[in-house]
């Protein structure tokens, strides 16, 4: 076991067991520590931050990109889990160092929104920090008077980070819209519709490719096609007649726990869709044999057997002569009460029978008497159904749940085509299917059965599945960002240089418009990074008028551009030649189809959007992915496009902004105070309370 020390961490290679503790507090940091009162202090330098992030990077790199693999981890329960999900890996590390925790927090926040990009997040973060450190060390901010070189470096780095963030918030969307989006294409929701009409024709190619490359990065190459087909199929089944894609995706995301059933012990290829809904409970009574249709079902949320007494009431059993007291009842025989309870239960069952109900779904456990009477009335009961499943059932069947069975009305009765037991793995569940109704003619409710050799794997597949839905959701979400217009830019070329650190909120311009089309995708495999790199460099050279300091806009965008290349470099880590080939091919492609966006800025912009829309109405074909921006495609580009998957531009954009925010907040921390929850000093109790919060996280 070697502890990680201050030496540069090997990015690939190495091996053996290491105790993961984040960067050491020992070494230089310890020497510099002074004590302020009773708190041990740790001054953070740029290299400490970098070190922390590099350690995280080295872990994440093992599962990054098409050649990456799984990470095996054990839970504290001893269960072995597999994952390629960046968030899973990072949380499993149980990091101690506050800085590392802060980074993990940022990653978690980002990926709960987009469901994707956690590994790229760390990679970009590390790359950006390296670039910043390099620049800061070369030219520390000497114009100010600092008492040491380190402080000077830190301040330069901080300024750089802020500049970059400001730049990203202000101009990045424009640059992406100009330099990247034209080479991508728009997913259209009609792709899905076409699929329903022609089930044999693989028209929703784009969505499928997008999903395939997502699953490739999350589950590995062997299963990505299978799972992405399954996802597409499921979404097709769930497609609402006229709704927007985002509402469907939101629906699937919200109800995912009720919509899938993990089954362990089978190979993944046994995963499938089944019609209707699976309720993850077994029948409490002998299951129905009746074949008649429709099966009528009622959802109850309370106990069928009435409670004689509510919680505070007291039943007094006296000899009979005393009168009734307040809040208590008096009778001589207990038997009368139990008999009353049973009789009223019989009435409820009779009422249900008169409505033709044969299935009861109950949110709570029912008494033995209820089960016995229901069985005698040929009704079957499913107890303790979870709230999520009941609400999904209510949505799909259109029947409202009842809490009091005396109030039951025909609108509470749902009609099902069948209700039968289904054996999935070790468990027997209840399988229901719904009658078609007018409002959902195109919807075929279906549930997903996820198979895997072990529980850890089914879990992994389910997580990936849900994250894929989130990713699609954020792909489709239009980004409401304000775009600065070209005219504004020419008027204020040096605006970014005078932008202050705190001024992170972008001014709303009167020309608000959504630049990134919802559903915009770009070929995977580093295309986004190469294109953006190119666009950023161009942008840098175009606006370098008077400003050539390291804080200037060109320098910032160049720095950013270089940092971006770390992503494709790691995708092609196994061969530098492949990396260069891909880059050259793309660059030559851009030059051959030189895009006039730098000359006729505004007009071109509009045409792109229009063309994008026009494109989305007709089904896209593989070879034509990029032809709406350049008119014709050459053969080489077709080859390039066809062998890679797709990724979402808006996810990438959100990722970049999130990373830059993280960088800037990381660099703003200069000291870590290690507080002790002083259980032994009761006099400082008040102070303790205020410090408790900071014990787990770095002060920001």
């Amino acid at each position: 076991m070697s502890r990680l020390t201050g030496t540069p961490f090997p990015y690939r290679g190495g091996g053996g067991g290491e105790k993961m503790t984040g960067p050491e507090r020992a070494g230089e940091a310890e020497e510099n520590s002074e004590s302020v009162g009773m708190l041990p202090m740790e001054h953070l330098h740029l290299e400490h931050v970098l070190q922390t992030v590099c350690v995280l990077e080295s872990v994440v790199l093992r599962s990054f990109g098409p050649e990456g693999g799984q990470v095996l981890f054990t839970r504290d329960t001893g269960q072995a889990m597999l994952s390629r999900s960046g968030t899973r890996i990072l949380t499993a590390l149980r990091l101690e160092h506050p800085l590392a925790r802060m980074v993990v927090e940022c990653v978690l926040k980002h990926s709960t929104v987009t469901g994707d990009g956690s590994k790229t997040f760390i990679l970009l973060l590390a790359s950006l920090l390296r670039m910043i450190q390099k620049t800061a060390c070369k030219e520390p901010n000497v114009s100010h008077t600092y008492n040491s070189r380190e402080t000077a470096e830190a301040s330069t780095a901080r300024h750089l980070a802020d500049k970059m963030l400001a730049f990203a918030l202000e101009e990045l969307d424009d640059i992406i819209a100009m330099g990247v989006v034209p080479y991508g294409c728009c997913l259209s929701w009609e792709d899905f519709t076409a699929k329903t009409q022609l089930p044999t024709c693989p028209i929703n190619h784009c969505v499928q490719k997008l999903l395939a490359s997502f699953f490739h990065s999350r589950l590995g190459r062997t299963h990505c096609d299978f799972i992405s087909n399954l996802t597409c199929e499921m979404l097709t089944h769930w497609k609402f007649k006229s709704d927007l894609p985002s509402s469907l995706l939101q629906f699937v995301n919200d109800n995912f726990s009720a919509l899938h059933t993990p089954v362990s012990g089978f190979p993944i290829s046994c995963s499938r869709l089944i019609e209707g809904q699976v309720i993850h409970r077994d029948f409490a009574t002998p299951c129905p044999q009746a074949d008649h249709q429709p099966v009528k079902a009622v959802v109850v949320t309370g106990c069928l057997q009435p409670k004689l007494l509510s919680a505070g009431e007291v039943l007094v059993l006296g000899s009979g002569e005393q009168g009734r007291e307040e809040n208590s009842r008096k009778e001589s025989s207990i038997v009368q009460f139990t008999a009353w309870a049973e009789r009223s239960l019989e009435c409820v069952i009779a009422k249900l029978q008169s409505l033709g109900v044969s299935v009861l779904l109950s949110a709570v456990k029912q008494s033995a008497a209820v089960l016995a009477l229901a069985a005698q009335a040929d009704m079957c009961i499913v107890e303790c159904v979870s709230e999520d499943e009941l609400s999904l059932f209510a949505q799909l069947s259109g029947a409202t749940p009842v809490s009091d069975c005396w109030m039951i009305e025909p609108e509470h009765v749902a009609a099902l085509t069948f209700c039968r037991p289904i054996l999935l793995g070790a468990h027997r569940y209840v399988h229901v299917a719904f009658h078609d109704s007018e409002e959902r003619i195109t919807v075929k409710p279906c549930s997903l059965v996820i198979c895997g050799p072990g529980e850890g794997q089914t879990d992994q597949y389910a997580c990936a599945f849900q994250d894929a839905i989130r990713m699609l959701l954020s792909t489709w979400e239009p980004i409401d960002i304000t775009a600065t217009t070209a005219s504004k830019k020419t008027l204020q070329p040096n605006k970014s240089t005078c932008l202050h650190v705190d001024n992170q909120i972008v001014k709303a311009s009167p020309f608000q418009q959504c630049v990134l089309e919802p559903g915009c995708v770009i070929p995977a495999g580093g295309t986004f990074e190469f294109l953006l790199n190119h666009a950023l460099l161009q942008h840098g050279s175009s606006c370098s008028i008077s400003d050539d300091t390291i804080m200037g806009a060109p320098a910032v965008s160049q720095l950013f551009a270089n940092a971006l290349l770390s992503v494709p470099r790691n995708i092609y880590f196994y061969s530098l030649r492949r990396f260069l080939q891909t880059q050259t091919r793309l660059l030559s492609f851009i030059q051959n189809h030189s895009h006039p966006f730098s000359h006729v800025y505004k007009q071109e912009h509009n045409t792109i959007v229009v063309q994008g829309r026009g494109k989305s109405e007709c089904p896209l074909e593989e070879g034509k992915l990029i032809n709406h921006c350049c008119g014709e495609t050459d053969v080489s580009s077709q080859v390039f496009m066809s062998d890679s998957g797709l990724e979402s531009v808006s996810c990438k954009y959100q990722l970049l902004v999130a990373v830059l925010q993280c960088v800037s907040s990381l660099l703003h921390v200069d000291t870590v105070l290690h507080t002790h929850t002083a259980l032994h000093t009761p006099s400082r109790r008040l102070a303790d309370i205020s410090w408790e919060g900071t014990e787990d996280e770095a002060e920001d």
Partner: protein
Amino acid sequence: MSRLVKKSPSLCTDLPLDNTGICNSLHLLRQLLRSCIGPTGRLKQVHNNIGGHVITTSTSSVLLPAISSSQPFINLIKTSILNHVSRFSDCGLFAAILCLSLIEQAKQSGLRGNVATSVNKHLLGLCTSYLQQQDCGCKVKLDFCSSQSLITLARSIISSKPACVLTEREALHISKLAVQAFLLTVPCNSPGIVSLGKIVTVSVEGHSVLNSAVFPGLLVDMPDVFCLNKVENLHSNPMRMVLFSASLAGDLSDLGGIIEVHPGVDTDSQILDQLLKLGQQVVKDEVKLFICQKVIHPVLQQYLRSHGIMVIERLGITLMEPLTQLTGSQPVATLHTTIPAKAYGKVRDLSIKQFGSKTMLHLQPPGDSAICTMILCHRNETMLSELKVVCQKTEHVLRLTLREPSALLGGGCTETHLAAYVRHKSMDKVTETVSVLGCSQTEYLRGVEGFCRSLESLAAALEHDGGNSLMDLTHAHHWSHPADVMEERMEDSSGFCGCGLVESSTNQKWTYLNTKYPQFSPAPLFRVPTVQPRVLDSFTAKLNALQVAVETANLALDVRYVIQDMN
């Protein structure tokens, strides 16, 4: 705050499969499991450090949970295999050994992880599609017209568990019983969806295995032998019975609030009166058998017995469902309402059966019923518990044949045949395959070699006494020879191959397993109806085991980093 325990950081291992410690423990596990497989497998004794009783076993479902390891790799493989076993009951050792040797072969071949996984997956596809073909050379159709092949299948499973310590004759007896019990659970004439019945197993220690028996209907424990003399009177027509699922002990039911009882009010006697009213109704309705899942008040019991009703209490939840199916009754849980006529069930015959110290009441179904009871006897507890596990597995495997009425040739013949097929088939369209898989031709060939060797090593694993494992070069079946037979005299000594379908002849050629041989297409057998395979394996279980093993091996090969939570 004092309850907050600081979480310790996790232990990380980079590139775990390059770590010798991990490789050694995987190798050790493989050796351990390899020594257990087959009818001549070596037994393992499992005992814990606090003096619990010792288990002797060679079954994967008992052995694997006993292996605890801090190594997450072992746990990963273990859970996969145990999940397979819990679904299919058979071929657990097969899957575990195949998985481990695939990992080992992939390490030895030095292939990149991604290449090894995609080659394995491709070859798995070849295997599964071949096994599902009609003309697959190692598959036999099960014939439900005769019980012969079912008994062969059952006996292969039972005899592959040497910890049961059965003689040939005993093994055959148990196999026949298992098939008989299985056939009893298949309902004869129910249209529509068929639901299988249930086998209730009762184990009796200290008797000869040959005393084991199967009875249609249910056998229920009779702890007190009070009214046994009355049983003789009950050999009449189908008699009425009633089944209660609520407690009849006279306790107060929960009314929700607090009950305050004034002196002079005797709730107990009020409730008992109510119970006796219930008794009166039962007597009036001419019920002859009164069964309760829970406790019956002694006064009520006495009342019922005095009216010539046989009383059984504390039946337990497990027997409730078979009993309702057997008698057609519906459990009653209401004490105040009159019992509806449809809640009563019927029993045809009652008799007392004595097994060692156990006295049991035999309830026979009034009509056709898919419930039966299997009495298992063995000389001591350890063997008995293993026998019980084996019988349950056999039942499960026999049930699987209803879905897919096929079996695979046993005795290692399927493995060698499949290996020969894969070697031959993988040579078709090599260039296309290689480009699809994204690897070079040599890498592909190395992957194929590793896969086939893993399969062959399973056939070889059946031999534990130092004998040689061979494969013939026409049908690719598996042959084993005792160690002392010289190679030249091989032709004379060997009788039949592992599964018993191929007889040795002078013009056959053999090769030792795990040696190089020219690839050939294994010839299908001309089936002579008189020659029946002597060893059969479950088709469904083996197919799934193959898939799970390859998938788990692929997952393991894909692992680049291990993070162990140390909390």
